[in-house]
Amino acid sequence: MMTLNRRQFLKLAGTASALATLPRAVHAAVAPRVVVVGGGFGGATLAKYLRMWGGNIQVTLVDANPSHFSCILSNLVVTGALPMSRITLGFDSLINNHGIAVMQGQAVAIDAPGNTLTVKTASGNLILPYDHLVLSPGIDFVAPAGNWKPNLTPHAWRAGSQTILLKKQLAAMRSNETFVMTVPKAPYRCPPGPYERACVVADYLKRKGHTGAKVLVLDANAGITAEPEAFGHAFNVAHAGIIEYVPNATVLSVDSDTRSIVTTAKTVNGAKVLNYIPNQRASAITKGLPHDSTRFVPVDPLTYGTAKYPNIHVIGDSCTVPASDGKAVPKSGHMANSEAKICADAIVRSFTGEPPDINIATSSACFSPITNRTSSWLSANFIYGDIFDANGKVKGKGMHRVDIGEAPENMIDGDSYQDMFTWADSIFADSFM
């Protein structure tokens, strides 16, 4: 196949001005190229839906790993309820059924004016030209003061080897020992996730008959940030005497060698397990883009484009979507999938010369196990339109949260536990198959 760059083609065609009014894909001598960084729920969904909706768009998905380890369900791998294979999601279907080029490598640099991405691969650095670049790289961690070594005190807030390490440390626990964990300062990935982990770890210790074993939850926030009814009840009733919950515990320092942590509310030395989950920020690959005060990248809610470079999009955990005060868009795999579809549609429209759709909605829904037989759930929905400050005054346009709610107490049961797997299988397939 002959390849010409856009300038060569325009020169050969000779009538650049006549072409100027045509959609961009018509000018291009090669099919429009979209490069996607990160093969999690956001990136995989974006790549798949671009191919489903986008005609001949060439899509390259860059990920450092040969498959994705899902954070969804990963707390049940920590407790041994599920094997790692249950959360290992391959890229085969994206390649074979959707025609996506998957490149294993680390995205290391963006040349925004030049529209190229540099990827470090086993065979050296490769430079990928793009018309649109979509970053769905997940989170990075903010290192605490002290001596933090995640290979000694796992966060398990990115699934994979960290999940296995935490599982091994939990399995080594015995009676009267303490599992200490932190809840990062919001915003962080998966608001209910830390509380869910506390519950399933407590349930595990109880089922193993480890009398006197405890879970100490050090929360940097003023209270439970998600599903306060379900988790409040679980902490105070279902897992009473096992979980100790401490709010307003800002982490001051961590020493992984001695498994010790100092917070503004409590200090622990020599925990049996220290599951320190650090505060979070946008992935390092976004460093050339503007960040907000929470260390994430603000985006246009209609396209997920960034302020200076509208053809560089950020979706999922690394972005901040404009929202009403106190009603932030949560960082979750489900939301990343939701945002990916808005972004994919906007990119396709840019190639056909249409403006982005404004009649859009995003959502997050998830199930949180409370024990090895019961689960809660959480639902949140957003519609594009006016967004409001704390006094109810319109402050601009964005994704306004129109509904949020958690499972009522009588629905925290075995049916919800089974629904959790139906939901997981569905979102796994919608994103990766």
Binding site: L4, N56, V348, A361, S379, T422, S426
Partner: protein
């Protein structure tokens, strides 16, 4: 460089690309894609109730009932996340899709 030959090739290439351009989005497609996280891509599973190919009026009436009824499950919450007009667009679009004949 053989300019005329390359020009012809380039233009032929452009013509092929034009044929393969993305079609304009159908109304409701993007909104309905938000159902897929729990009902499968194009509403055809795997997941909860299959949506593809169901009658538009059944889908719309079910979702209106969920939206304005009491909370008996997670879908009663999700239905509150859309305007009535959006629920109509979603229902109309899903009804045009081929299902697997599952419930």
């Amino acid at each position: 460089m053989d300019i005329p030959r390359l020009s012809r090739a380039a233009l032929a290439c452009a013509a092929l690309l034009t044929a393969a351009l993305p079609a304009s989005a159908e109304p409701g497609r993007l909104l309905a894609s938000q159902c897929a996280q729990c009902h499968g891509t194009n509403g055809a599973g795997p997941g909860f109730d299959e949506l593809a190919g169901k009658s538009s009026s059944d889908l719309f009436n079910d979702m209106i009932e969920m939206k304005y009824g009491s909370i008996e499950g997670i879908m009663d919450r999700q239905a509150r996340g859309y305007t009535d007009d959006q629920l109509q667009l979603i229902s109309d679009y899903l009804s045009t899709l081929p299902g697997n004949g599952d419930d």
